[in-house]
């Protein structure tokens, strides 16, 4: 099998794509945003609860999309749960760099991270939007 495809679809991606973790809606939540890829129609709704210490206490998503977008959303919620907002923002920056091929200079993510599995998206420029949809929704929710 082609290396590019194996890099793109690592087992963990296929697994999270098939069975996304933290799928649903946070109750209660105080932050939410919709993610949408107008080019293909994939969409998701992200909800999370930010407590008074600025920690993401719980985070969930619903939606429909390809394996890459679902796995990315699923891995994101696993990674961000329990993190302080400042750290989450650094992860966001690192992740967007990682999937767009600018991974020399990451601050908080490293090869041990499950999110690193999405690095293969860099080989498919048209799929970067799939991988970042959930993350942009997260970023949007912080701004709102």
């Amino acid at each position: 099998m082609n290396d590019l495809i194996n890099d793109l679809y690592q087992e963990i991606i296929l697994d999270h794509g098939r069975e996304p973790r933290n799928f649903g809606e946070c109750d209660p939540h105080n932050k939410s945003a919709d993610g949408h890829n107008p080019l293909c129609g994939d969409n998701l709704k992200l909800t999370f609860f930010l407590n008074d210490q600025n920690i993401i206490e719980d985070i969930k998503f619903t939606g429909e999309g390809c394996a890459i977008s679902l796995a990315s959303a699923s891995l994101m919620t696993e990674k961000l749960k329990g993190k302080k907002i400042e750290v989450a923002e650094e992860i966001f920056n690192d992740f967007t760099n990682l999937v767009s091929g600018a991974d020399e200079d990451l601050k908080v993510l490293n090869e041990e991270d499950s999110l690193y599995a999405l690095k293969g998206v860099g080989g498919f420029p048209m799929r970067v939007k799939c991988a970042t949809m959930a993350w942009h929704a997260f970023n949007q929710a912080l701004k709102d």
Binding site: I5, L39, C130
Partner: protein
């Protein structure tokens, strides 16, 4: 099968891009002609030649180059007129795209013939480019839009369509060939419009290179198509309109080239077709489209259609036998387009997987979100064929599909 093979051998060499290797080793199998067709050498060389040897602005100067440019631009119009069998060159308006053609009609037809509360009939299978220009009329002017249902076969439900007409129906706009199903518009839809004396626009983006078009025989009042889907350059579109309607409707954009006489108090407008061609037009692209039409005529549109029908039928029968494939639309005849899904695999995955095998297909909503919603899917994968495709490519594609299914269900 023999005919198709012969045809292939003759035309593949005309398309330089087909010798490109994908990821440095895979032969390119281009199954995305419905999104945009590849360009034959003759179009590439002729547009090059225009810039190198004949280029100047059109219809303005009196010098040699201006004459040469104008000749090419207007000659392209003649070729389009023949291609569509329009009555006159005055009925052929060059636009930048089919989309611009629909916007032009929506805006100017409204201005002349419609008011608040008047109705437009569309259908559920329309491309966004045949929805949004009419949404603008709804949002800005209170025009009412009605949408014909579709049958499971992918065809418009003619009875429902017929029931949508009222005395306020002013115009109908429908796709001539669905970019999702590949199904042709039922001719009855056009005769119903004729009977009720309501003008009809046909979106011919998918039909122009894959069906024989005769606007007089069809009886449509407007017909739009784009150059890039008919083996010509991007950036050129065509609007056909009957001289009666185009004469009565007001200009779309104002600018140079579309005027009769201008003073600071006002202006009179040019005659057709210049009236609708404000600004310097995409003149080289228009010439390129003319060359593309010559190219199709040289092969023979009948041959092209026969060739594509054969491939489409072959691919349909192969896909139809695979239990993990779901084909959208019925078993009816389709032209050069097949939409499908691999069960439990998102179309993005299918497209990325095939890409690595050198196969280009389209994945997504195909600019038909209302239709996707109706089908209950988020996206589909779409195969679409052109003059350069072959049965062998379909065989390779089917093998790749099996590999794809195996990979994602491992």
């Amino acid at each position: 099968m023999d005919n198709s093979k012969t045809l292939n051998l003759n035309v593949r060499k005309d398309f330089p891009i087909l010798s490109k290797k994908i990821l440095e080793k895979k032969d390119l199998i281009y199954f995305d002609t419905a999104a945009s067709a590849q360009k034959p050498n003759t179009v590439i060389n002729e547009t090059n030649d225009f810039y190198k040897n004949h280029y100047s602005n059109v219809s303005r100067g009196v010098h040699t180059l201006s004459v040469e440019s104008t000749f090419r631009y207007e000659n392209a119009r003649k070729k389009v007129q023949k291609f569509l069998n329009a009555r006159s060159e005055n009925e052929i308006i060059f636009t930048k795209s089919a989309t611009e053609g629909i916007n032009l009609v929506a805006q100017t037809f409204y201005e002349k013939f419609m008011q608040k509360g008047d109705e437009v009939i569309l259908s559920l299978i329309e491309h966004h480019s045949n929805l949004i220009p009419w949404f603008f009329l709804r949002d800005k002017y209170g025009v009412v839009l009605k949408f014909a249902n579709i049958q499971p076969s992918g065809e418009i439900d003619i009875d429902h369509f017929n029931s949508l007409f009222t005395n306020k129906t002013k115009i109908v706009s429908l796709t001539h060939l669905s970019n999702v199903f590949g199904t042709e518009l039922n001719e009855n839809a056009i005769s119903i419009c004729k009977d009720k004396n309501v003008p009809i626009l046909l979106d011919g983006c998918q039909s122009a290179a894959h069906l024989k078009i005769d606007v007089q025989k069809l009886g449509c009042d407007f017909f739009v198509f784009s150059g890039h889907k008919t083996y010509g350059p991007a950036g050129i579109g065509v609007l056909y309109g009957t001289e009666n309607l185009l004469s009565e409707m007001p200009p779309y954009q104002g600018g140079g080239g579309m005027i009769g006489d201008v003073s600071l108090e006002g202006a009179s407008y040019a005659e057709l077709p210049a009236k609708y061609e404000a600004g310097t037009p995409p003149l080289v692209e228009a010439h390129g489209l003319g060359v593309a039409i010559d190219y199709m005529n040289k092969i023979g549109l009948d041959n092209i259609i026969e060739h594509e029908n054969e491939i489409t039928k072959y691919a349909f029968n192969k896909l139809n036998k695979i239990d993990f494939i779901e084909i959208h639309g019925g078993d009816n005849k389709r032209n050069s387009i097949i939409s499908f899904n691999i069960k439990n695999v998102h179309s993005h995955e299918v497209s990325s997987f095939l890409d690595v095998e050198g196969i280009a297909i389209r994945a997504g909503h195909h600019c038909c979100q209302p239709l996707m919603k109706h089908l209950g899917v988020n996206s589909t994968a779409r195969l679409s064929f052109g003059v350069y495709n072959s049965l062998e490519e379909v065989d390779k594609f089917v093998i790749a599909l099996h590999k794809c299914k195996e990979f994602f269900n491992k």
